[in-house]
């Protein structure tokens, strides 16, 4: 009885709602168009990873599914963002069409294991290059230079200008992320509030449960874009986070190849184009200067 009544109520609610259109529906964005041209006839030396992937005609790439602007799953279940576009660029140079890429979600905890176990061919997942990680995996790139920044409520009521002003404040970030660890290590007087995703940080800032949100500036810019009346960026990056592409340790040929592809994309404009269609489309910012690839 109760169930039937509940269902009826739900159905009635559904009818009432379907009558009006939603803002989200009206603005339903086309998923970013892929412009990278797939190389039809490419030759690679036998035995290299490139030849294997080209032969297979498919590639598995790990990316994040919850990073606005970089790797974010759309309602159709397809990831989109700058990281995803970079992946398509590389795949195209390997002769692999975008549809043949298998996207696997990698979170901070499984990026190294997935590369080491061969569960993914590469990881493009807002993956900061650092020395500890270089012991476990190889990095191509960087393909983007982020910096840790701070987002505050509009008008900056707390007068926060940089990380030193965070002392005694409630600061939100994501558990297990590099920015959170940085605050913990270098600004211990700040009180950390840690969630699993950034949207919760944005909610907490709206509710006044925290006074600031800190992570890489590109992600914060995305959050500000979603609520320009509510948030603002301090705009004073205090770290350098070079995003690299994680590859199997010791596969130097593949690393050189990916670096070549990146450098080419920097020059021929496809890198800037990828930016404009993803992170740039959210933040409205022009593509920055491409970084210098580090062939360590």
């Amino acid at each position: 009885m109760r169930t039937t009544r509940n269902l009826a109520a739900l159905a009635a609610l559904g009818l009432a709602l379907s009558a009006c259109a939603s803002e989200a529906g009206n603005q339903a964005t086309e998923s970013a168009e892929n412009t990278a041209e797939v190389q039809e006839d490419v030759e690679f030396d036998a035995g290299t990873t490139m030849a294997e992937l080209n032969e297979a005609g498919a590639i598995t790439i790990g990316t994040k599914f919850d990073q606005p602007g970089f790797g974010l799953l759309n309602p159709d279940g397809v990831p989109e963002g700058f990281d995803v576009e970079i992946g398509k660029l590389i795949a195209a140079e390997l002769g692999i069409a975008a549809e043949e890429i298998e996207w696997v979600e990698t979170v901070s905890a499984n990026r190294e294991p997935f590369i080491q176990n061969g569960q993914v061919d590469m990881v493009i997942a807002t993956y900061t290059i650092n020395d500890a990680r270089k012991q476990l995996v190889d990095f191509a790139g960087p393909y983007y230079l982020a910096g840790q920044d701070i987002m505050v409520a509009a008008g900056n009521p707390e007068g926060i200008q940089g990380p030193d002003d965070l002392a005694g404040k409630n600061v939100c970030s994501v558990e297990g992320s590099t920015p959170a660890q940085n605050i913990r290590d270098n600004y211990p007087e700040a009180t950390l509030t840690l969630f699993d995703v950034y949207s919760k940080c944005a909610d907490a800032l709206t509710n006044g449960q925290v006074q600031a949100v800190t992570t890489d500036n590109v992600i914060l810019t995305g959050l500000v874009a979603g609520n320009p009346e509510g948030f603002e960026l301090v705009g004073n990056p205090f770290t350098e986070e070079p995003y690299g592409i994680g590859l199997t340790l010791g596969d130097t040929d593949f690393r050189n190849f990916v670096n070549d592809v990146l450098e080419e994309s920097f020059e021929n404009g496809s890198w800037a184009d990828a930016w404009d269609r993803t992170a740039g489309a959210i933040t409205g910012e022009e593509a920055p200067e491409p970084p210098q690839v580090d062939r360590y």
Binding site: A109, R133, L136, E175, F195, N207, Q209
Partner: protein, 215 residues
């Protein structure tokens, strides 16, 4: 071992947080759950309805959703609650529904003759419940109640996603800082939970055996 020595402080703090959450949420759950059980057998219809609605809602909602409504939903009706108290509240409210069902099945298991005798002596509803039925019910309720509370200890792990630095939150945190030590982190966390849950389960088995003899 070096890894554990380096992070002993972290494990200890997280352990205390989990324990603290468990104790506070457990108290809330037992008090509220017993009250709800009393409501569910009371003569006043709205109380019965309210308690039934409460139990059905909370038993059928994932704890994560309950957390979400406490931490982010309450501010929508202009109550802002801290993360630790909010988490205690979420786990406590959720577990109360299960405590209620455990206590109610206990009340139902008390022989009707007991309640009849209490009524015949002229005790009121409240008196017969408090002085005759509940004390006996609690004895039979110990094993299921214990199971509910042990499960609750483990359920506090959901708070990791809501800014409480309890044991499970060490997983992403330590794994990111020590990429190669995944197994060590897991073993440490599991061991800490077992320090709480295993003795509780053993004690429970013992009580269960004693209750069985009593019956």
């Amino acid at each position: 071992m070096q890894f554990y020595a380096d992070n002993a402080g972290l494990f200890w703090d997280a352990f205390l947080t989990t324990l603290g959450m468990s104790v506070l949420a457990g108290l809330l759950a037992v008090v509220l759950g017993t009250l709800l059980a009393a409501f569910r057998v009371s003569p006043i219809l709205p109380l019965r309805g309210l308690a039934t609605f409460y139990v059905e809602t909370f038993r059928n909602t994932p704890l994560t959703v309950v957390f979400f409504f406490i931490i982010f939903g309450l501010p929508q009706i202009d109550f802002v609650i801290g993360f630790f108290p909010g988490s205690v509240l979420a786990v406590g409210l959720y577990t109360a529904a299960f405590v209620c069902e455990a206590v109610r099945s206990g009340i139902n298991s008390v022989s009707p003759g007991q309640a009849e005798a209490a009524r015949a002596l002229g005790l009121t509803f409240g008196q017969s419940l408090r002085q005759v039925v509940l004390p006996q019910a609690f004895r039979t309720v110990v094993p299921p109640l214990g199971n509910v509370l042990i499960a609750m200890v483990k359920n506090t792990s959901i708070a990791a996603g809501f800014s409480v630095s309890e044991l499970s939150s060490l997983l992403p945190r330590l794994v990111n800082a020590n990429a190669g030590e995944l197994v060590l982190v897991l073993v440490g966390v599991v061991a800490c939970y077992m320090v709480i849950t295993l003795p509780a389960a053993l004690a429970l088995n013992r009580i269960e055996r004693r209750v069985a003899i009593l019956r």
